[in-house]
Symmetry: C2
Subunit: 142 residues, 2 copies
DNA sequence: GTAGGACGTAGAGCGCGGTCTAGCTCAAGC
DNA sequence: GCTTGAGCTAGACCGCGCTCTACGTCCTAC
């Protein structure tokens, strides 16, 4: 068999062994994981592929609850593709929004860094915030 | 005075009143917030500007610990600009990496959504995963 | 002068997403 | 046969970043 042990799956998905068992308990898998006679999990390639998708969706901050819902739909088998699509479509704008947000943060950070860099380059030429001075006036930058 | 109450600051920073008090306790502010005779906080514009930066940095997942460190440096006054710059410079690649990650997730999601959309468009033309079928073979998509 | 709401402090509690422990079993290699 | 390490279950615990509670005070408006 091409089946994998939990340790092997952990290694290739990047999830911990603990997390894999946790995901299973939480109903995030698309089917019951088969077991050996001794009760050990044997993951099929299908399971691993699904887990790789889970990892991606989690990376993009999809909550476990949504992942669970998606898994349920897949588990139910064909017929609910419209709902699966809706789930993904609902997630996409959140990802886009998050990227936009991060890009804005990135420019702010880059800008502030450049202020400091300039300041250092011209050797303490001042103009930066100094809250140790006066706490009344509303002056300058960083 | 152009000073603001905690409620006003909450409104313009988007932080909750609770969060503002929490930030203060945690040493995330650049200076001691002044108080009225009755013990109420009066935020200076400087504080609000700093908080706006905090909000941005948090949005980009900078941990509170780093924020606290940055605040400490600013509180100490001029002379440590190199370290402040280092802090920001260390954060930037994390933000970039996160954006990259999210962009990858986005294309995966878009791709999967398109698979479902196609499937639905051609009316149940099959080819999607069906874990209810057979758990052995390593077949197709969705 | 009194009602109502915003504010104060201290500290407990929470939601999320895992992570870890205890105590046991299984299985591969020597 | 025995050791060793990987795996098993149930359930407790954790880190982060707030959030909320309890209860008292301040202050503005009527």
């Amino acid at each position: 068999m091409t089946d994998l042990t939990i340790g092997e799956v952990a290694e290739r998905t990047g999830l911990s062994v603990h997390a894999l068992r946790f995901y299973e308990r939480e109903g995030l898998l698309v089917g019951p994981v088969r077991r050996t006679a001794g009760g050990r999990r044997r993951y099929a390639l299908l399971d691993v592929q699904w887990l790789e998708i889970c990892v991606r969706l989690r990376e993009s901050d999809m909550p476990l609850a949504d992942l669970r819902r998606f898994a349920e739909l897949v588990r139910q088998g064909p017929g609910n593709e419209a709902e699966r699509l809706r789930l993904l479509d609902a997630h996409q704008p959140r990802v886009n929004e998050r990227i936009r947000e991060l890009e804005e943060c990135r420019s702010l950070i880059a800008w502030k860094a450049s202020v400091y860099a300039d300041h250092l380059a011209r050797g303490e030429a001042g103009g930066l915030w100094d809250p140790t001075a006066d706490r009344q006036p509303s002056s300058s930058s960083s």
